[in-house]
Symmetry: C2
Amino acid sequence: MDWNGLYASRMSRVVASDIRERMKLLAQKKLIHLGGGLPDPAIFPYQAFADASAAILGDQQRARTALQYAASEGHGPLREWIVGYMASIGVPCALENILIVNGSQQGLDFVGKLLIGAGDTVMVEMPSFIGALRAFDAYEPTYVAVPKAGDPRPAHGAKFAYVGPDFRNPTGTTMTRAERIELLEMAEALDMSIVEDGCYEKLRYDGDPIPSVLALDIERSGDIDRSRVLYTGTLSKTIAPSLRVGWMCGPAPVIRKLTLIKQASDLATSALNQMIALDVVSEHLDAAVATACQVYRERRDSMLDALSASMPEGVTWTRPEGGLYIWVTLPPHIDGAELATHALTDHGVSTISGSAFYPVDPQRNTLRLSFSMIPAEDAREGIRRLALAIEKTPARV
Amino acid sequence: MDWNGLYASRMSRVVASDIRERMKLLAQKKLIHLGGGLPDPAIFPYQAFADASAAILGDQQRARTALQYAASEGHGPLREWIVGYMASIGVPCALENILIVNGSQQGLDFVGKLLIGAGDTVMVEMPSFIGALRAFDAYEPTYVAVPKAGDPRPAHGAKFAYVGPDFRNPTGTTMTRAERIELLEMAEALDMSIVEDGCYEKLRYDGDPIPSVLALDIERSGDIDRSRVLYTGTLSKTIAPSLRVGWMCGPAPVIRKLTLIKQASDLATSALNQMIALDVVSEHLDAAVATACQVYRERRDSMLDALSASMPEGVTWTRPEGGLYIWVTLPPHIDGAELATHALTDHGVSTISGSAFYPVDPQRNTLRLSFSMIPAEDAREGIRRLALAIEKTPARV
């Protein structure tokens, strides 16, 4: 039986992620892993999880709710809590503006299903979050770049622009308030929508929070139901990834369409997970965010110090105000993918080549580093090894 | 902002499920609900869930695994257990033949993503499981009927035939061994694949198990990696739906493609849920299946007795050997949708019109009943009310 002849055309776009493949090497010893990007499991609120699940499964009525099918739109009390959370970050909304999904990755898949027909134009930042590109790829879009600050406004719009305004993956950079307003004005002029990935919003280590693009749009239009922004949020970065609990927030008619997509895609997110999530965030979100910010701020600082101490002339990097990533630009003659291979095999340090984060026209002399799991001494040693690998890279002919 | 102009063409096919809409009425009192189809939460293994989650979250090492991202293919030890389970039902396979998904509904969505291009032909039983039709609809197929026993073999194939061989939703009927072999021979002749929904396989109340289509194909070809069958299984019907743990089993190269789809769709199923599932099934699956079969067998018998006692001349129904559903065929002049409305509003009994289960050319004089949640006295009273509603339906002009 030759299945290859049966695959839908979209499957030519569905390929393995360099990162996930490379992460299989994580089991190897003595390597220093600067590529990963997972939240540090040492800071997950374990006792809160144990208490929540014991309380839910130990109560007959709650246990019945936890194990039966949940509503496709999500567990009502968790959606209520998210309404309050969104209000606290400048997004007044109601229950009908919230859909629960299995982490924001599922939200990105649903965006593709909702909006992308084969060949439709989608604007993404270059580079962009690889998980979003993989989710959208299955719907066969054509990608164009979100204009950078100072670029002229494009003549043609797109179905939507996908942006990560705060400390985004992979660059760690943040859009200014003025850039967010300009994005909204461009979207209005070109009559397109905006998909905002809010997954790192709470992981800010310096500076003042900037309102989300959705919050700024509501300031302008006065009503989320008139907004052109669809927002995805998650508990994966602040509480724990394997809850697989995230949400989408946007105009009620769009959320209703997305709820139908949710129903057809996997019926509903686990009620048990949603109830555990609610118990944990109700009591522990602020403390979990404070712990994460303290731990990750120190690690960011250690890695930035190590970069300053070791990197040779001609290498530059971003200084993120939050999130988990630093983006390194190498001298133009160095290919990040070749360097990553050479650094891994000859110098025992893993990184991620930047090319994978571009859907088209990769800027090859780039790398993504993550500091989330790296103690100070590993950062020093890992960056020292990386610097050595860079210095030993011959100029290309 | 007018989002309607932005939706992908597939969204015209993504519509609300009559059943899920109707289930909103479940909160109303005094109604008798013969339509639902949910597993009965009274028989879920609550203590096993409480013990499993306490053991996992109380062990530092297991808790770290449970809360961090799982591998996209699923939690290794659970996949190992499923390999053993599949072997026990006549499907020898290996780890690389198993992908964990969020219940078999997600498996059906992935089938659509993997195989259906817009306009591709898909064969389904008429009537068919509405959740499968909704999942496939998003990929814009053209539906044709799987030939019934005795029908001539069609001249043209399809990407795949989707079948539920055992006590399928909505009819409760079971394919004979000969019908399964004929299906495989047709698929071979037309060079198409088969998607087999095994979700009710363990809920057999009478008669001997018949090997799955996948098992029969492996008997013929000798090797799952040469099979044309992709199988979906789930713990939703035997353990509890809100685990959201199901699996796909098929040729390794197809499972690898589906793993990429899983990664792009929601990264991975919750590790916590997978670990709880493994603990529960390892110790309690046989007992849970035995309890479910005992409870549902009695309810099926009560409802069949009630139908015999109350239904007027000209009404026929299936006698399922397992599963949760009975399919009722009304006299030709009665429209099931009109009857369902009239029975609900005037007689206080809810059922599901059969029309929704046909992607094309609905046979309108049909209803689906479920006995899974209905004690004997409610079955008697509910069927009595339904019979009254049928008797009061005027002949159509």
